[in-house]
Amino acid sequence: MTTANAALFQASSLNHRNARVQSLYRMLFGLMTLMLIAPVLIILGTLIHKGGGAISWEFLFTAPTDGMRTGGVLPALLGTVWLVMVALLLSVPIGIFAAIYLSEYAGDNWFTRVINLAIINLAGVPSIVHALFGLGAFVIFFKFGTSILAASMTLAVMTMPVVIVATRESLQSVPLAFREACWNMGATRWQTIRKVVLPNSITGILTGVILEVSRTAGETAPIMFTGAVFFTPFLPQSVFDQTMALSLHLFVAATQVPGIAEEVPFGVALVLIGLVLLMNSASIAFRMWLRGKKKW
């Protein structure tokens, strides 16, 4: 009996082979993950190492002086906040409402399929093309001039597909059985969306919004024709003003200003990344708070 058991649990050559292959794949996946985070760590490390010295209260809260060689980044920092906020205000409601329509109301027919295809293609349009579209449509045709409004609208058009796709995906992750149970009670589609679908997809929708914040804050091409300027000593007062922006300021400081201290462009990049991380953290905290309130 015992000998039979011993034979049963003796590792065969097949077992050995499976174990080897398994550890090989595990190593491969682990290595890929490491390669994924390595650039992030290198970038952050370089920025902190080279640009950390530039960061001070003065750097954050004063305007650039002496042809941007000295002083701070306040107009660019505020400008980026303005651009991101206005773009979000435009694209998040439109994107979410459109996604709700596509996912919850529209039937599956050739027309909605064309719309979905268009959305995916819109997400693939290069940002410089969006920039030219924004210049033609918002700056010239709608006569907004180069302004925060025109730049934010361009950014909104560019990032809306991300919001729509993320929202639609998370709406469709809510099981159909939940909707059917609610419809069976005599609820309308909107009541079902309001009471059952949205509360269970809001965290996924927020993920889409977070992705959009990062992308919006970092984009340079779409805003340089439509609202952002190299330099202005004035802080933006309304959406019709031109503004500086961190991304463009970084480009300018890194390439267009001779004799600038090396730490300044790195400092600007650090502020930009810090701002994005701050906005992301805020929305992640909000998402966690929501998740704590509602779960299945």
């Binding site: 939940f178 149970a181 419809w183 005599g186 059952v196 269970n200 299945w296």
Partner: protein, 273 residues
């Protein structure tokens, strides 16, 4: 000027003036045919369901039982592939030509084979339907929630955890929660679709007792693949087979008396299906 939907609501509530000695008909089905694309799920079904009876529907898989329930509740509007022809009269009103399907559905409670606890608390699950009807008063909702949970034989088990998630309950408790939720609609008609599939035998017996109690107030359609369950509960029973309504009759007759169709006897005696 009475609006179409207001008129329908009055009629859906039943014509109380038309009392007579004959049993009142809750649901009259005439020449009902349901098809998905070219495949027919149900062909030429004719039957009547009386008020305050438990009407059993038995039959093997693919008999068209669930499609029948969906057609009654007008859930076909959510399924573009589902085509329904014929006539279904609920309280005498043709549901096929109803504008206000929401009023119809709100008067029909449905319990699914697998419990669908909505991702909210026990309390919210039961309070959802009253809230959809516009009841906001907390005290009023409390009363409804307690009454429905009690009638579904669940109150004692959940009264201390009303604000825990419904999905944390056990399978049998969740099924009773969905029954409580259906009752919170104050339905005229309760449709149960193989409710005991995911429920243990003891809980099944408890729910069956609940149903016997409930029939005084509501009409119940009990779809089941357990013929003995139909025998225990149903006053009259229909036998569906491959989309055909083979036989409708007093339940006991199906088991002991004369049946018109041999297949009925074969099925209830377990010779196939």
């Amino acid at each position: 000027m009475v609006s179409q939907s207001a008129l329908e609501r009055v009629e859906l509530a039943g014509q109380d003036g038309a009392a007579s000695a004959a049993p009142r008909i809750k649901l009259a089905v005439k020449d009902l045919t349901i098809s998905y694309g070219k495949a027919a799920a149900l062909k030429d079904v004719n039957l009547e369901i009386r008020e305050h009876e438990i009407f059993g529907i038995i039959g093997p898989a693919n008999a068209g039982k669930t499609s029948f329930l969906k057609a009654v509740n007008r859930m076909d509007v959510f399924n573009t592939g589902m085509h329904v022809a014929g006539e279904i009269r609920f309280n005498g009103l043709d549901t096929r030509h109803l504008k206000n399907v929401y009023a119809l559905r709100s008067r029909i409670g449905v319990v699914f084979p697998l419990p669908v606890g909505l991702p909210m608390t026990v309390y919210e699950n039961v309070a959802l339907s009253p809230r959809l009807r516009g009841i906001k008063n907390k005290a009023e909702l409390d009363v409804i929630v307690q009454r429905c949970l009690t009638r579904a034989a669940l109150w004692d088990e959940v009264k201390d955890r009303l604000h825990a998630l419904g999905s944390l309950l056990s399978g049998g408790q969740q099924q009773r929660l969905t029954i409580a939720r259906a009752l919170s609609q104050e339905p005229d008609l309760l449709m149960l679709d193989e409710f005991s599939i995911a429920v243990d035998p003891v809980t099944t017996m408890r729910i069956e007792d609940v149903l016997k109690e409930l029939r005084r107030e509501v009409t119940i359609i009990l779809v089941t693949n357990l013929v003995q369950q139909a025998r225990r509960l149903a006053d009259r029973t229909a036998f569906f087979l491959n989309g055909e309504c083979v036989e409708v009759g007093v339940t006991e007759d199906l088991f002991t008396g004369e049946v018109k169709d041999r297949r009925t006897r074969d099925y209830v005696e377990g010779r196939f299906g």
